[in-house]
Symmetry: C2
Subunit: 198 residues, 2 copies
Amino acid sequence: MPGGRPRAFDPDAALDRALEVFWRQGYEGTSLSDLTTAMGINRPSLYGTFGNKEELFAKVLERYVGGPGAFAAEALEAPTVREVAERLVRGAVELTSGPGTPGGCLNVKSVHACGPDSAPARQAAIDCRKAGETALRRRLEQAPDLPPGQDPATLARLLHTITDGIAVQAAGGRPHDELSEIAELALRALLPPDGSAS
Amino acid sequence: MPGGRPRAFDPDAALDRALEVFWRQGYEGTSLSDLTTAMGINRPSLYGTFGNKEELFAKVLERYVGGPGAFAAEALEAPTVREVAERLVRGAVELTSGPGTPGGCLNVKSVHACGPDSAPARQAAIDCRKAGETALRRRLEQAPDLPPGQDPATLARLLHTITDGIAVQAAGGRPHDELSEIAELALRALLPPDGSAS
DNA sequence: GAGGTAATGTACCGATAGGTAAAAAAATAT
DNA sequence: ATATTTTTTTACCTATCGGTACATTACCTC
């Protein structure tokens, strides 16, 4: 089985470039020319290696979840509800307003790509969100410090809602330090330091 | 000064049609053809009456704030922090997942229109958000039941963050009843029924 | 009526969108 | 060296993008 001409670029590095563009400009705001320029390859190479724009986006989203967004899955390894929540919320602040990254969250941005041609990309983002939330709910169900009357599903959804809100705020230009204050207040309210009701 | 040919459509009704399209499809996902079709007018009429796409969007956003989004300003008339927060958060649930409206929030969607050509529309949304948040902070500063150690600016930002999160959840397809549960849990956490610390 | 004025309908503009055909180039296999 | 395979390069495709020129129509004033 012969080899053919070798690929002149590193697909993972190219994916990282594509990720940055999609992250900054959103799915609908990114053209194929933006992508090929950033990736340093030409159009047929992109199609040959990654498929079309939709498929490239799906691969980019996967890479996002396993890279910049990996904190969300790792947070579930914390032993208590409190620590899981802290790591999720603080991680969202860093992800969306940290230095050197585009503002906001690629996933949240992609949910808002709601033009007629963006349905597949949007659905990919929604599926990804659902998977993350299911994992969070399962984790909360098994936590030792889950408050008695608390429904883990609703708590997971609220945590998800708060991280979503943080992403919107970051996308709207909220600076990192203010976002941290917001996050800490949310954590204090959700998980009071002593042991208050909810 | 003579009048010329009278306009054959109602500008406000046309704005409402445009609002619905922008709300459902987002700024970037909406084409001029989508707009003219929905508004029932042709292209030169649109440009003659509303300016270009950007200016039309600005007018639509204004109409959104004064129409479907008016609950946010009206919520500030409530006497207490608790009631202001309740009306804001519950209003966000109704706005973004209520029956008969497109999912999500036009403002939050527009913040995520971050392609190169969408900068003015995005900025209009951001300005609008800033104005709303400033009004909320001023209102909280004067509320009689603001907890002593509480910074009204941060509380306003957290409330804003929560309503943003609700909008994202709605845009992602979260059904209305689940969103209500999330909202009520957030309100309980933020403003405990008795008088706990935060 | 005639003239002025503003909105309408139609047809069009250059630019760019996502996507591809076909030939040239670089590797392996025999 | 030759044949085969795969990628790259270049050039191009149709459709649609936001925006407009121009002639026509409908109204008001005189």
